[in-house]
Structure formats: C-alpha cells, structure tokens
Symmetry: C2
Subunit: 213 residues, 2 copies
C-alpha cells in the first residue's frame, strides 16, 4: 500500500508533496470537486506575495519524528523510519507590513455550513495564544462546491468554537460566515488574494480601536 | 558517537529529538563542552514564555521530503523513506506583544570570533525579506567555550554579511558582537531570557525612529 512520488521533481514550497491518500490520513482534508488544490493555491499566492515584497508567509513543514537515519554516503542521509507528529500550531505564519499573521486553510464540500470537525483544539488554543500577543489570526475557508472563499477572523472563530462546546452545534452556518467574514474573490495572480481581506480586517480593527478611545 | 534520548520522554516542542549524528550531518551544530544544548535551552525558554503568556515562539519542524509511507494499521502510518530538505527560512518565529519575531540560534566553540560559515545564504535572504516587512529579526549567538550568549540584530548581521562577501573575512570578531549586540545573562527560568534583549532592541529602535522625526 506504499505510494511513491516522482523522483527528481523540483518543488517550490517547503512542503513535501502529498498524495491525496497521505493528506487524508494525516489531516482529513478533502479536495474540491472542481480540482482546485486549496493549500497549493495558497502556497502559490504566498510565493507571489514574497516575489513582490508584499509579505513573507510560509507554510510550516509537516512535523515528523525521526527515529532512524541511514548514511549510505555523506551527501545522502536517508530517513528510514519516522512518524507523523501532531502539530502545536497552525499551518501558516509570517510577517506583513509589521503585522504578525497566523492562519489555517480549510475546505469543505458542504454548501450551507462549515463543519467544526475541520478544526482541532490545538489550532484553537494556538489562535487564542497569538491573539493575546496581538497577532492577526484568521482562517481561510474554502467551499469547494460553491467555489467561494472567505476570510474569517480568529476572534470570531474562537467565539463560535466556545459556543459549540456548550450548544453541541456541529458546524458554522454559511450565513454567519457571510455576515462576519470577508469574501475573497478568486483571481489570477495571486489566485487567492487574501491579503486584501487581511488589510480590510486590520483597517476595521483600527476603526474599532479609535471608537473605543 | 551517536547518543540517545531516553525513550518515552515527553517533548514540549515540535521538533523530533535528534541524535548528535543527525544534527551534525544536517546542520553542523557543535554542542558546547560544558554540556548546554543551546537549541534545547531555547526551546525550553520558549515553552516558559508560552506558559507565562509572554510570547508565542515555536521552532519550525525540520523540512522533510516524504517518499514512501507504509500503513500497517490505520492508526500508525510509518514513513519508510524520506530525505532532509533545505529550509527556506530561519528556525524560529512567532509573535511577542504585536511584534513579529524571527531568528536563528547558532553556536561556536571559538573564543574570539563567530564564523560566518554558521550562516547560510537562505537564512540571510529570509532575514532581509522579514526586515523589509518590519519584522524583528536577530540571531542568538552562543560561545560555548566562553559561556557567553548574545543577541545580534538582523540589520547588523546583514550588513556584516555583505561586507564579508567583498572582504572575504571568515568570521565576525567578538569585539564587534560585544559592541553591536546585547549580551544575554544565562538564567534559571527562562534559561535564555532573550526577550529582555529583544525588548531593549525594540526600545532602542523606537528611540532612533523618534530622533529621525
């Protein structure tokens, strides 16, 4: 049941390429029917932003516990036994114009709501910790059946997550995401221009802060 | 010459435990004579800062290209073939009181200077990119034979790196590090209180910014 990646192919992102099976085993991510690999498009958008000096955002490597390494020659260490580890953070972070950005990218085939099971407790905890340090935290939500993408703030996610812990609700209704989130129009370059939504969010926070004073 | 970590020990950081051999192969890090594992102490300091809600700083997992995975059972995917990949960033980043922090930890047995070979071009490039986004970038330098630790700013490192590219100098003299860096006194909890130096650096930058206006 082992699978193989093509050898010698250059990859532009940090991440080892993933087969659909591996991704499913590891993270239960479902790819959209229409063939957009959401994570891959975000990685490309990050590469675009980096090339334009707009932001420095990287996906974190998959955490792996290495148990056994062979050294057949000095130049080629081969990992012969390793295990996937649970991450303690979200997948993406970096810096944009002095702001610390931290986010997860999630997708669903659902058409009317986003299942909470796509999020993990450690991600919520990490978002809470980063918010306490004045980081800009959010999730990018991709409704693959609708071809719609949303920015949803960490504050809002944490609030609704706490709510579902008491109400037992299994998902976040699309109507709430439409109302509290910011829709991202899929483009060409970058494909997922999420920094526009981030900028809008930062400006709206400034407005709130000024009103508070 | 490989050493082993005790099995079953819980690790608080993301990183898989490394054998000395693996670390040497991968990063050419030399451990200090007096037994302080510099990276491990920084990871513990980060855990301390996280537990006190002072900052959220994590070491990035080692990038690994996964080639072959076996699934003997649903719960235990075993990576059977994988390779170390070159990182594109520094090892540590996170958020502290609204600031994006980004740094590398390096050590030397030298007593009078810090060799430039401890740094890699991709780390310098990444630091330049993050500085352009107003991130707080630095390196933590550990002189294991002297038991002395320094904060050295990304701006200064980038400047001296560019200089050595033309002069061919092989190392950064301790005198320059003493003059331009901030010495960190090794403590108990956290062992490496580097955020004190970061705070001092941030305050000094504010002073410069005010003088500029």
């Amino acid at each position: 049941m082992a699978f193989h990646y093509p050898n010698g192919t250059p990859y532009n992102n940090h991440e080892a390429p993933k087969s659909k099976k591996q991704v499913k085993k590891q993270k239960s991510i479902q790819f959209g029917k229409r063939g957009m690999d959401f994570e891959e498009e975000i990685n490309k958008s990050n590469a675009y932003y980096l090339s334009r000096n707009t932001a420095v955002i990287h996906k974190k490597p998959t955490p792996v516990q290495i148990v056994k390494v062979d050294y057949p020659s000095r130049s080629a260490a081969v990992i012969k036994e390793a295990y996937f580890r649970q991450a303690s953070t979200t997948d993406y972070n970096g810096v944009y114009n002095g702001f610390y950005l931290d986010f997860e990218a999630k997708e669903t085939k659902n058409k009317t709501s986003f299942p909470f099971k796509n999020f993990h407790q450690h991600q919520i905890d990490h978002i809470r910790q980063c918010l306490a340090q004045k980081g800009i935290c959010f999730v990018l939500l991709w409704f693959s059946s609708l071809n719609r993408c949303f920015f949803f703030s960490g504050e809002a996610l944490v609030t609704y997550w706490a709510e579902q812990e008491t109400t037992g609700k299994k998902s976040l209704p699309l109507a709430i995401i439409e109302k509290n989130g910011i829709e991202i129009q899929i483009g060409i370059a970058p494909r997922i221009p999420y920094l526009d939504a981030v900028e809008q969010y930062i400006q709206s926070k400034k407005g709130v802060a000024m009103n508070d004073n």
